[in-house]
Structure formats: structure tokens, C-alpha cells
């Protein structure tokens, strides 16, 4: 091993990450073990928040917000878990370097492993949420009666979601070591973004706004909104709402969201690789 002032090229870093894949699994296990160290209900706790939110939002939309939509809780189910995934993964990745400063200052391993394993631990919960969602859809006789194989489209959406989150997680993790107030910005940003996502209302409401043709494309340019719409359209039957015809699953939207996510991921990897040694010295 040669240690010199030269920054390792990104390609070498990626190869090294692959070589350390076993340690990623171990770190992920460690996060999950620590989280569930001595709670009897364990996993159930991580599902309670989204489940309660789903209940509350269903009630709100049913009784307070305009015309009720049949089975709206089914529409919220998968998106709520997808949103909770983003909402947990980004802050967890953001603090991952700071939280593990002792481990970092003790031995060398690629620092990217810490945000990556924080992401994988959050993914674990999301996958459980997805299975729950599918169960709920079966209970309502939506799956497989009304929605069939299109459910498999989530296999194209989840990797895109992971790329986007990892990119943002890498950027915020390394910045949070240098400026510790980044994590507050992150949490405020996520709270605000919740209102710009189709959770409290279906995307058709946005499409139905008249005289603002720029609104829908601008709304969907936010990859988080794009992802939620994609999840909904893959897992759920067309929705009847607000006088606007139901939007179909959109391949261009999938392409566009992939493109943005890959750009964010590439920038995140590059930026992290550039600043990681500076960050380690500040720990």
C-alpha cells in the first residue's frame, strides 16, 4: 500500500468498495443489531410510525379534504413506506461518519462503507414495508385482481431510488463532518419536501390544476416525487379523482428519474472521494 498526497481515482475507489463488500454486510448487521438490542417488539417499532401516518392521512383525506377517493389508504400504503425510506435513510447516512468517528480513527477501510451500510439498513425496513403493502393490497382484493405483473416494475424503481439516496447520503455525510449544521438543514429540507410529494393528495390533483402547464413537469422534475408516482403507478390500479383522468405508468418518467438519480450518485461518489480525507482529519 502506498500512501501519498495523490487522491485515489474514483475507479480505484469503486474497485476497493467491491473488495470490501463483506464488511458492508457486517456493518449493516451491526446497525440492525444495535437498533433492536433489547426491544421485544423489535422490528415492529420501525413499522409503527408509517402505519400510524397512513391511518391519519386516510382519515384526513376521507373527511376533510374534498371528495373522498375509494380505497385511498391503499394508495398511501406503498408511497408512505417509500417516503419513510428516504426520510430515514438520508439523515442516517448524514450522521454516519460523525457517529463512527472512533472506528474511522482506528483503522483504514473505505469510508464510503459507512453511508452505504446505513442505506442498506434502511432498505431492509423498506422491503418489509413493501411486503406489508402487498399484503394489504391482497386484503383489499386489488392485487392480483386489479393489478397484476406491473407490480414487478418496482424492481426497476428500487435501484433508482437507492442511487438517488446514496448520492445525497454521501454528499451530506461528508459535509456534515465539516459543517455540523448540515444535518439540521437536511431534516428541515425533508420536512418541507413532504408537502411537495403525492402522499396527502394523488398526483392527478396536480395534473388537474388548470392554466399552469408547467406545474406537472416541474413537480415531477423532483426525483422524489417522480419515484413516488412510479411506485404508485406500478403497484396500484388507476385512481378516480378530481375530474382528471388517471395518469398511466410513464416510461419517460422512469427514464428521467433514473437519469437524475445516476447524476446525483455520480456527483456524490466524486464529491465524497474528493473530501473524505479532509473530513477524517476533522473527526
Amino acid at each position: 500500500m502506498v500512501n501519498s498526497p495523490r487522491r485515489p481515482p474514483l475507479r480505484a475507489t469503486l474497485r476497493e468498495l467491491w473488495a470490501y463488500r463483506e464488511l458492508v454486510t457486517e456493518f449493516t448487521r451491526r446497525i440492525l443489531m444495535v437498533r433492536y438490542k433489547n426491544s421485544v417488539l423489535g422490528l415492529v417499532w420501525s413499522l409503527i410510525t408509517p402505519l400510524v401516518l397512513i391511518g391519519v392521512i386516510t382519515l384526513i383525506t376521507k373527511y376533510f379534504l374534498g371528495q373522498p377517493i375509494p380505497n385511498y389508504s391503499a394508495y398511501i400504503f406503498p408511497v408512505m413506506f417509500a417516503w419513510t425510506f428516504s426520510n430515514n435513510a438520508i439523515p442516517d447516512m448524514c450522521i454516519s461518519l460523525l457517529e463512527n468517528s472512533l472506528l474511522i480513527r482506528r483503522s483504514y477501510f473505505p469510508r464510503e462503507l459507512l453511508p452505504i451500510s446505513a442505506l442498506l439498513a434502511a432498505l431492509f425496513h423498506f422491503l418489509i414495508g413493501l411486503v406489508l403493502s402487498l399484503g394489504y393490497l391482497m386484503l383489499l382484493r386489488i392485487f392480483p385482481q386489479q393489478v397484476g405483473w406491473s407490480v414487478l416494475l418496482v424492481l426497476l424503481i428500487i435501484p433508482c431510488h437507492l442511487c438517488l439516496l446514496l448520492g445525497l447520503g454521501l454528499i451530506t455525510a461528508v459535509l456534515n463532518v465539516i459543517y455540523e449544521d448540515i444535518r439540521f438543514l437536511v431534516s428541515v429540507g425533508l420536512q418541507i419536501m413532504f408537502y411537495a410529494l403525492p402522499v396527502m393528495y394523488p398526483i392527478e390533483r396536480v395534473a388537474a390544476v388548470e392554466g399552469q402547464p408547467w406545474l406537472l413537469p416541474a413537480y415531477l422534475a423532483n426525483p422524489f416525487a417522480g419515484l413516488l408516482v412510479l411506485y404508485q403507478k406500478a403497484m396500484l390500479p388507476p385512481i378516480q379523482s378530481a375530474g382528471h383522468p388517471a395518469l398511466p405508468f410513464s416510461w419517460p418518467l422512469l427514464g428521467q428519474t433514473w437519469l437524475v438519480s445516476l447524476l446525483v450518485l455520480w456527483f456524490g461518489l466524486w464529491y465524497f472521494n474528493r473530501l473524505k480525507y479532509v473530513a477524517v482529519e476533522r473527526l
Binding site: M1, S4, E22, L103, S107, E180, R282
Partner: protein, 242 residues
């Protein structure tokens, strides 16, 4: 025919940016506005060169702030030098702080596995050595307890046991050889002796001159970020103690 050295340090300089206040965006914005920086360069190591042949035990002494610990961080690959180059041949294991990066809420066994894996062992190797690690640290009966409930001495014993059983080619040790009670210290010295006999390279940073004298053939004395003296332990310690 000569073996390449285990460690080759070539003209290494390390500077740190010292930030005078905790970093915050407000601070950064103010600095930008005032065209003034609260950041200052501090030289921790100044043009250091030396080589360590494989199998040698090298002691590093000097007062606080002379650059000893920074050197270990560079050898471990945790920091990058500002100038110069360090070449390390072989697997490196570190024993840089007492808690060894262990997590309070994990059991002794789980901690040992994670730490061993960050030291370059595969999971299978770590699992295979786990019984030895626990036995050496006299912690077999506590394997499944969270280390939150351990005494400081137990944690230190665990950290040391894991490090010496990671099968390092090069062991970097900062000041922690003197751990635990008398009998465990004797065991540590014995284990270090075994590693030396097996041809391992040991870099040992310490203020404890007696241990340096007992362990290391050669010693380097750092003073104010520079290499003051490099030679056989007896000579360097004699000069240092004057």
C-alpha cells in the same frame, strides 16, 4: 539480495488545517464576507524519512505534540501525507486507542468480529479466531454480554486480544501495551514476544521508556515535528534521558 523494507517513509510532511472554532455554515459565511480565515496551517511532521526492515521492532518516543501519533495515523493509511510518500508492505493491524472503535451496545463477540474485519480479516477468519481472542482476553464467559457493562480493564483486554490475533504483518501500537493487571501484562509481553519471534514488524509509540527498552531493538526520537535521533534503543534512550 535484500528484502524490501516493511515500511518505507520518504520525505513525509504532514500539515493540518487547524480550525479555531467548530465548523459551521455561519462561520464559513462570515469568513467569506470578511475575506479572513480562521483556519491556520500546523505542521505535525516535517520532512521525515526512515525505513523499517521486516521483523524489526521500532520504538517511537518524544514529548506530546512531537508528531508520533500523526505518524501512526499515516502508517495506518487513515491520514494522507501533505508531501512525500509512505510505502507499507503487508497487512497492518492497529491498536491506537483503548476502546478500539468498539460499540457499547454490541456484545464482546460481535465487537471482536467487526474490529477484526476492519483490520482486514474476512468474516470466516474472524469467526475462526474468535474463541482464541476471547480466551486470551479471559472473556470467554462474557462473550454474549454487551460491553456497556464491562469494566474499562475488560474492554482494553478485548481490544488488545483482537489486535494481536488478527495475524498482522505489521502491528501499530500507541501507548497501550500496559493494560490490565499484572498477570495480563505479562501475557501481553509474552504475546508480543511471540509476534516478534514470528518475524512480525512492530511500531510502538510510547512514553514508557522501560517498555520501549524491553521491546524494541531500535528507537526513533521525535522532537517538534522533526526526527531528532534514530538508532539502537540504548543509545537513543541514553541521549533522550539526558
Amino acid at each position: 539480495m535484500s528484502m524490501p523494507p516493511a515500511i518505507d517513509v520518504r520525505n513525509v510532511t504532514k500539515q493540518f488545517r487547524v480550525v479555531h472554532h467548530a465548523g459551521s455554515l455561519k462561520r464559513a459565511a462570515l469568513e467569506l464576507l470578511r475575506h479572513r480565515s480562521y483556519v491556520e496551517q500546523m505542521t505535525a511532521l516535517d520532512d521525515i524519512s526512515f525505513q523499517v526492515p521486516a521483523g524489526q521492532s521500532l520504538g517511537i518516543i518524544g514529548s506530546n505534540g512531537s508528531g508520533k501519533s500523526t505518524l501512526l495515523m499515516l502508517l495506518a493509511g487513515i491520514y494522507r501525507p501533505t508531501a512525500g510518500e509512505i510505502e507499507v508492505r503487508g497487512r497492518v493491524t492497529t491498536l491506537l486507542d483503548l476502546f478500539a472503535g468498539m460499540h457499547q451496545d454490541l456484545t464482546a463477540a460481535d465487537n471482536a468480529i467487526v474490529v477484526a474485519m476492519t483490520n482486514g480479516l474476512s468474516r470466516a477468519e474472524a469467526l475462526q479466531r474468535l474463541p482464541m481472542m476471547l480466551e486470551f482476553g479471559e472473556l470467554t464467559a462474557h462473550a454474549d454480554q454487551r460491553i456497556r457493562h464491562f469494566s474499562a480493564g475488560m474492554v482494553v483486554r478485548l481490544g488488545f486480544s483482537v489486535a494481536v490475533h488478527c495475524d498482522p504483518d505489521i502491528l501499530l501500537v500507541d501507548e497501550v501495551l500496559a493494560v490490565g493487571d499484572q498477570s495480563f501484562q505479562a501475557k501481553c509481553r509474552q504475546r508480543v514476544g511471540q509476534l516478534q519471534a514470528a518475524g512480525k514488524t512492530i511500531i510502538f509509540v510510547s512514553h514508557d521508556l522501560d517498555t520501549v527498552r524491553a521491546t524494541c531493538q531500535r528507537t526513533i526520537w521525535f522532537e517538534r515535528s522533526r526526527l531528532r535521533l534514530d538508532g539502537p534503543t540504548a543509545e537513543v534512550l541514553a541521549a533522550y534521558e539526558e
